[in-house]
Symmetry: C2
Subunit: 248 residues, 2 copies
């Protein structure tokens, strides 16, 4: 039975998609069967993995096609349900339904036997689909940059998750991203993060242009530059998460 | 009659709030009367200016208070209508109205005589309020980082603006933000931006930790470090925009 993992932060541009790609690819390389679902209308996930799917989550939500019919294989053990700007229209289609907040939960239910993990790549605001992802999620991972607005937003996000899920135990990890160890402000805020959230905070992913290059050419960091800081840092995150999730 | 300027990019974390603060503060220092309206439920604008308003845009939208009653003075010539997470509830209140897409236009109409500029600080996704801001706007400014997802998103955003406004003439400027001149990828993508959008692209704002520090302490860059790269780059942007807008 797959764990359903929402990777979310209401602050934009802080590394959600990059984290989904490189954590899921790492788990797939270790043999886990993983499904990625992009619920952000920007649809960056397909570009980041170098796939051009013909179908998207829109067809599953509005045309009621099963997810199994709109997914594509992105890598061995790693399937993807993509998104594009048509997803903006799906928001309106969902908002009118009585069960509007459980649409994603119902869509993934038939697939949970087939995968070990199902990841949602969330967009940067509390849309209808992001609320759906939180409801469907068994686990929540929060990437964050170590800058003032993102850290301030973190408290609000965790409070919001507490309201939606009736508690915050579902938050499994906070991943500091794009950390530049040369910047005093980063180090100070990282220490603040560790003091405030303790064990939840994983070792930081350092800023590394190879990660940005990788997403530009549709590769995972392990494919683009396996010896880079980005690959080393994300591989460490994958090890820690798989221990936490008792993967053999 | 105030120009109504939407500062927008559907990609998050690329410098929208930082641009609103430092462009508007520069115009106010030159004697223009400026009103800022935060339409992002994260409410970063108040924090960035170091003000803690008791009222927000929520009261204007849901309790029908005039904007003049919820604004606060942030600096000389610079007033602010703040936001917070209650704005998420305002989205639902608007969505049910027949004139749902002209709510902001109606709210700002009585104030356009009092100001030279009214800026909207938009959030990072196509929310109901962002669509309202585009409808109300006489001018659109698009900050963007020079990285692959943001550049790809730019085409879609401009197409979206074209659909909402019946043309893209309202797009006045594209401002490259957080540009690191040492990174090859940034230089390549900046050249691509200039080739694609020509005159619309203003000189880049370089990456500069003083900008992040300034937002952490609630200061404009001119207050925090007037000799920094960030202050020099934004002052240049202010000069170019005020020439474009025929400010004496
Ligand atoms: N550690 C890092 N070092 C350098 N660049 C990074 C790092 N992590 C991500 N990036 C780059 O930063 C940009 C933003 O990252 P990404 O798109 O993953 O953020 P996001 O939170 O998914 O954004 P959005 O809110 O728009 O969905 C991308 O170009 C990405 O390649
Ligand atoms: N040129 C720059 N150099 C360094 N840091 C910057 C620069 N511009 C902005 N920042 C910092 O980057 C972070 C993101 O910027 P900002 O909050 O303005 O982006 P945004 O587009 O408004 O984000 P959101 O989508 O969440 O509203 C902030 O901490 C800000 O201080
Ligand atoms: Mg993303
Ligand atoms: Mg902002």
């Amino acid at each position: 039975m797959a764990r359903v993992v929402a990777v979310i932060n209401l602050k934009g541009g802080i590394g959600k998609t990059t984290t989904v790609v490189n954590v899921s690819a790492g788990l797939a390389l270790k043999g886990a069967r993983v499904l990625l679902i992009d619920i952000d209308a920007q649809g960056n996930l397909a570009m980041a993995l170098g796939v051009q799917p013909k179908r998207t989550l829109y067809e599953a939500i509005v045309d009621h096609k099963p997810l199994a019919d709109v997914r594509v294989s992105a890598r061995p053990n790693l399937d993807l349900v993509a998104a594009n700007e048509s997803l903006l229209l799906a928001h309106q289609a969902i908002a009118g339904r009585a069960d509007w907040v459980r649409v994603l939960e119902q869509l993934v239910r038939p697939l949970r036997q087939e995968y070990d993990f199902i990841f949602f790549d969330c967009g940067g605001s509390l849309t209808v689909l992001n609320q759906n992802a939180l409801i469907a999620a068994t686990d929540v991972i929060i990437p964050t940059t170590v800058e003032p607005f993102a850290i301030k937003g973190l408290e609000k996000l965790i409070a919001q998750i507490g309201r939606v899920k009736g508690g915050t135990a579902v938050v499994r990890a906070i991943i500091p991203t794009m950390v530049d160890p040369r910047m005093k402000q980063s180090i100070t805020l990282l220490a603040h993060l560790n003091r405030t959230y303790g064990q939840l905070v994983l070792p930081p992913v350092r800023v590394n242009v190879r990660l940005s290059e990788a997403s530009a050419v549709g590769k995972t960091i392990y494919e683009h530059d396996p010896r880079s800081r980005g690959a080393i840092d994300y591989a460490q995150i994958v090890e820690l998460l798989s221990k936490m999730w008792n993967m053999q």
